[in-house]
Amino acid sequence: MRTNFVFMGVEINIASRNRRRWLVVAIFFGFAAMVIAWFALRGPSVFGWIVFVAFAALSRFLGGGGYTDGLVPPFEGGDERERNRRFRAHYVAYQFLDFMFLPALIAVAWKANPRNMERFPELRGFFEQLSVALLAAGWILYYTLPQAILRWTEPNLEEQP
């Protein structure tokens, strides 16, 4: 796991767990801001694709998956300890998937019932957009949560030369 990275020409040390946790919090604030901004721009908008590109850039920075130069090493390969930690992180992340997924499903189910839509026709667009925004948030968490758990739980690292 990397202990430093360069941001706008400045080398930032993240060997200590405390710093890594702050970084994880900052990244997730960025994700939350993107989803909220997207939700605020209601209706069909190409802003969704901008969010997608920003999300892809942040995910690449976070690493994991197939990315080779992120903060977390790629998920393929590694020794047995790393593999076990990766599996364990996914197990923990899986427990949070329902928290991401159920709000979106409830919003969809609420909108799918025509009786609700007859009673509150003004909320039709709101619930449609809400369900997609919640699912987008779920999607972002899905892709980044295991890496965040790995960064969050790893103890202080020795600095790389």
Binding site: P44, H90, Y94, D98, K111, W139
Partner: protein, 191 residues
């Protein structure tokens, strides 16, 4: 993993992998049948939740994992909550078979190998469930941005979105246990 299932007081030997695989296929076929039949009832408007309950029932009766009953031991390693008060007489009468073990926790506790298998199966299930989330989101977003692209589907874009989310939820609840049941080799029958 347990090698037998207790259904209505009857012991069913599930030590063979072929039997467990047949059970997995049956469960998914039954849930698919429920989903298709509910579409013809009211396009899942009010009956969509039945798919969720069907998946929960399959977990509770057959799969386990998130429940203390079923073939897969509880993922948390904890059994059901024990009460000091004796169980009601009716429950005692209904309980036709209750295995008595020297260590009652053994039925629920996972050893290190089982914990590794649990983590690995969740890792694999995570990929499939995530794919479902991505496809559902993409369908919803396309339905909003370019609804004309989805006119060839015999349902509205929103119904497609709802269906994909229901399938993803069902997979989320059942897939880790089914991966374990599918991949675990033949077990030794319980004594």
């Amino acid at each position: 993993m347990r090698a037998e299932l207790v259904l209505m007081g009857k012991r069913v030997d599930m030590a063979l992998r072929t039997r467990r695989r047949a059970l997995v296929v049956l469960i998914y076929a039954a849930i698919a049948a429920v989903m298709i039949s509910m579409w013809f009832v009211d396009q899942w408007r009010a009956t969509g939740t039945y798919i969720f309950w069907a998946a929960m029932l399959a977990c509770r009766l057959f799969l386990g994992g998130y429940y203390s009953a079923g073939l897969v031991k509880p993922f948390t390693g904890k059994g059901p909550r024990q009460y000091d008060a004796p169980p009601p007489l009716l429950l005692l009468k209904l309980r036709l078979y209750q295995p008595v073990l020297d260590d009652p926790d053994r039925r629920f506790r996972n050893d290190e190998r089982e914990l590794k298998q649990r983590d690995r199966s969740h890792y694999q299930a995570y990929q499939a469930v995530g794919m479902g989330v991505v496809i559902a989101w993409f369908a919803a977003y396309m339905g909003m941005l370019k609804p004309a692209w989805l006119t060839w589907i015999p349902m509205t874009p929103f119904q497609l979105f709802y269906a994909l989310m229901l399938v993803t939820l069902m997979l989320f609840l059942t897939l880790p246990q089914c991966i374990l049941l599918w991949t675990e080799p033949d077990l030794e029958p319980e004594g």
